[in-house]
């Protein structure tokens, strides 16, 4: 009954969404205020209805109602509660429901918090937003209905893929979708602005918080996925250039570019047309990502759906919104006024470079991801495009971006002083040089390019510090003046600091762990020892144990450093009951300087077990860097000047507040 109620709510949500597309759009055209105001309650009730549907499905999962096909196929009665919950979106139908839920969440947020938006703009934004909802609700109801019943109901379900039964992965999709889908707001704003036919700095100010929120969630979502892959897939890799990873990475790159171009637009009214285009492209890449993951067109590790009807439907959605958006852009952008002027060496100039490199990066990833499929479709020729290709093409694009990153904020708007910027960055160059020498001294055996990579990361980190120090006049002002300035610095400046510092850390982590990873693969019998980067690792033994829904072989390793036991690591191999699959659980000893990473393998023909032991230097910097970027985004978002709905106010205190 509850399931049918959910199904009904979802159908109702579709009808509400249709009304939300039509009525406010006509209202905005006729300048009819009452019709425009329909958008707000429609957006809120759409959210309410989809939330009911989502809760109904969740209820079916929690109570293990196997008369629902979706639950029977993806859940199991013995599964721990958290994975019953995560199971709701751990499959195609449920994840599409989550998709529309988050879409509606963002729409309702605009309706509730966008009080300072001009009425027509708001009505149009919500109308466009609802049109996306209509498309995906139709997709859900027609091709991917999560509420289909199964008769007779099986006694138990088939279970959730065991490698997905993991805390980090349980919450990876919601964060990722918050990012993906969040860019829909930027898209809706862009389309609404094109329909209105005018666009200004205020537009950028309204769009930026939404873009920033989406970017934050996408950042942390991608980082969680990478972290999960690191400890769960069992060979210590953290990024595989898998099509599904690329699907989330492309909107991230474009969204990062969008954040920066919107900044230029807000402050200087420049890059207006470009920013609108970028907003369309960013969400198009999100749709492309949805297409790649959900259509099963590129079969990859993560892909669940292998049904052409769905693929064609999502492709149609993709073409409709991307094509429609670009066509509208082509029609209307000519009439828009280009904004502020600037010299090549200026803050704007550096942000144009940022956009150019990020967009080229996104294009490279896009073409690399789709090329094999396109080529096979056109000529029948089969090729593979894998990590070596992306490392070779995408990597070099990021180097000039990182070099320019600390310089940009040092340049003034309109016309910058390059020599002065270089001077002020002296500390950053110094820090990079120290890092370069130190890494060369520590790892003189090579590879010889890696120290430069580490130095580049350190330079970016130090550059972020220099920018902050400059803004508070560190070194030139008195200490109480510095404290006062540090307090008065807008939160968005701290946001920038954290985000840029985080990128630097990420680079250091990536380079260090890629270049200086230590690996040992050998057969070990109980009592055998190996030495891994100063750790003395002894294989104590192996025993069997029973978990809630699996049996596992747990290996026991005693880890000593300098003669003292520092940890006991217990990597294991699990065999799940339903579905019967094996997974590996790695044993990790985390430390600042790097992770000791142990994996237990199969029994060897001549006795003992295959053991893989790694030392991954500074690998934590990768996720820590991403976390710091996420925090930076949050700090920036809390800036009252950016806060949704907060009117911009002059920073000068009002002179006489008297009556």
């Amino acid at each position: 009954m509850i399931v049918e109620f959910g199904h009904f709510a979802l159908i109702l949500a579709l009808l509400v969404a249709v009304a939300q597309v039509v009525v406010p759009a006509i209202g905005a055209h006729l300048k009819d205020e009452r019709m425009m105001r329909v958008a707000d309650p429609a957006a809120v009730s759409q959210l309410f209805l989809i939330a009911i549907a989502f809760c109904a499905l969740t209820h079916a999962y929690v109570t293990s109602d196997f008369s629902v096909l979706n639950v029977a196929e993806n859940s199991h009665s013995t599964k721990p509660l958290i994975y019953k919950l995560a199971g709701v979106w751990g499959n195609h139908e449920g994840s599409m429901l989550l998709w529309v839920l988050i879409l509606a969440l963002f729409g309702a947020a605009v309706a509730l918090f966008g009080n300072n938006l001009p009425l027509t703009l708001k009505a149009r934004v919500l109308s466009v937003q609802a049109s996306i909802a209509v498309a995906f609700l139709l997709f859900s109801l027609l091709t991917s209905n999560p509420f289909t019943r199964l008769d007779p109901a099986p006694p138990d379900g088939r279970g959730l893929n065991p490698i997905l039964q993991d805390p980090a992965l349980a919450f990876h999709p919601p964060f990722l979708y918050m990012g993906y889908v969040g860019f829909s707001i930027a898209f809706s704003f862009a389309i609404a602005a094109l329909i209105e036919g005018r666009i200004d700095a205020a537009w950028a100010r309204w769009v930026r918080p939404w873009t920033l929120a989406a970017w934050m969630f996408l950042t942390i979502g991608i980082a969680m996925g990478s972290w999960w892959a690191y400890y769960e897939l069992g060979w210590g890799g953290w990024w595989f250039w898998d099509p599904v990873e690329n699907a989330s990475f492309m909107p991230w790159l474009a969204g990062t570019a969008l954040l920066h171009s919107a900044l230029v637009m807000e402050k200087r009214e420049a890059l207006k047309i470009w920013t609108v285009l970028l907003a369309i492209l960013t969400f198009s890449l999100s749709l492309m990502g949805t297409f790649i993951v959900r259509s099963g067109v590129l079969t990859s590790v993560h892909s669940f759906a292998v049904d052409p009807a769905r693929g064609v439907f999502i492709l149609a959605i993709l073409i409709l919104f991307t094509g429609g958006g670009l066509a509208l852009f082509a029609l209307r952008s000519k009439d828009m006024q280009a904004g502020g002027l600037f010299q090549p060496i200026s803050r704007e100039g550096s942000l144009v470079l940022n956009n150019l490199l990020l967009v080229t990066g996104a294009a490279t990833v896009l073409v690399g991801t789709l090329y094999p499929m396109a080529l096979e479709g056109l000529t029948g020729e089969k090729i593979s495009v894998g990590p070596p290709f992306f490392n070779m093409t995408f990597g070099p694009l990021m180097i000039p971006l990182l070099v320019a990153l600390p310089i940009g904020p040092m340049l003034a708007w309109k016309r910058g002083d390059f020599a002065g910027a270089m001077q002020r960055l002296a500390f950053a160059f110094g820090a990079a040089l120290v890092a370069l020498v130190a890494v060369f001294a520590a790892e003189y055996r090579g590879p010889w390019l890696a120290p430069f990579g580490v130095a580049l990361g350190v330079y970016v980190m130090a550059g972020a510090v220099v920018e902050w120090a400059n803004r508070v006049k560190f070194g030139s002002a008195k200490s109480d003046e510095i404290i006062r300035r540090a307090r008065n610095l807008p939160r968005s400046a701290y946001g920038t600091f954290f985000a840029h510092f985080g990128i630097g850390m990420l680079v250091v982590g990536i380079v260090a762990t890629s270049a200086y990873r230590e690996e040992h693969i050998q057969a070990m019998k109980p009592g055998d020892q190996i030495t891994v980067n100063g750790y003395n690792v002894t294989f104590v033994g192996l025993e069997q144990a029973r978990g809630p829904n699996y049996v596992e072989d747990i290996a026991d390793f005693n880890v000593k450093r300098g003669g003292e036991t520092v940890a006991r690591l217990t990597p294991s191999k699990r065999l799940y009951d339903a579905p019967p699959q094996t997974t590996t659980e790695s044993g990790i000893l985390a430390a600042w300087r790097g992770d000791l990473y142990l994996v237990i393998g199969d029994a060897q023909p001549n006795g003992g077990y295959a053991v893989r032991a790694y030392f991954n230097p500074l690998v934590r910097f990768i996720w820590l860097g991403a976390l710091i970027m996420f925090i930076g985004g949050g700090i920036s978002l809390s800036d009252r000047r950016l806060r949704v709905g907060a009117p911009s106010r002059s920073r000068q205190p009002v002179a006489v507040p008297a009556e």
Binding site: F240, G368, I521, T583
Partner: protein, 158 residues
């Protein structure tokens, strides 16, 4: 025919796929000479596991990947150069096996995209910078906005 083959492959994949790919290179496979073994590892990272999704033979524990790893090591022990090993594997399994596709007529767009987008973008930036000189600054306010501005300004004065 082709369709059913794909279907078989997909089912086969579904059976393997979830089993994670933990123990790719087995201790017994490794070459005694560390330099030669390192070369084998580097080559393995460039070769695709043919029955897996987007995994190199170095990362995969599928039996076929193991066969390929042994093949690579055999060729290296027979004094092949890295390129000769790759050529040998491609001759047997086709271009599909290379994770880094060769620069050829069919992959020319793939390889040139980064360059083309970057150059195209640069050209656009430069052209726009020239055009911007003539643009007038901002759109005039509508009457409604003027009224709003006035009310805000009077509010502020009070």
């Amino acid at each position: 025919m082709r369709r059913s083959m794909i279907a078989t492959l997909l089912t086969a994949w579904a059976l393997f796929a979830a089993a994670p790919m933990a123990h790719a290179v087995q201790p017994g496979e490794m070459l005694a000479d560390p330099a030669l073994e390192q070369r084998a590892r580097n080559i393995s990272a460039e070769l695709r596991c043919l029955v897996c999704q987007n995994q190199s033979i170095d990362d995969s524990d599928a039996p076929l990947a193991g066969d390929l790893r042994r093949l690579v090591r055999e060729r290296l022990e027979a004094n092949d150069s890295d390129q000769q090993v790759l050529d040998y594997v491609v001759a047997r399994y086709g271009e599909f096996v290379l994770l880094n596709p060769r620069f050829e007529l069919s992959t020319i767009l793939l390889w040139l995209t980064p360059v083309l987008v970057l150059l195209g973008g640069l050209v656009l930036v430069v052209r726009n910078a020239g055009k911007n000189g003539a643009a007038s600054p901002s759109t005039p306010l509508t009457d409604q906005e003027k009224a709003k501005l006035k009310s805000i300004l009077t509010d502020e004065r009070r």
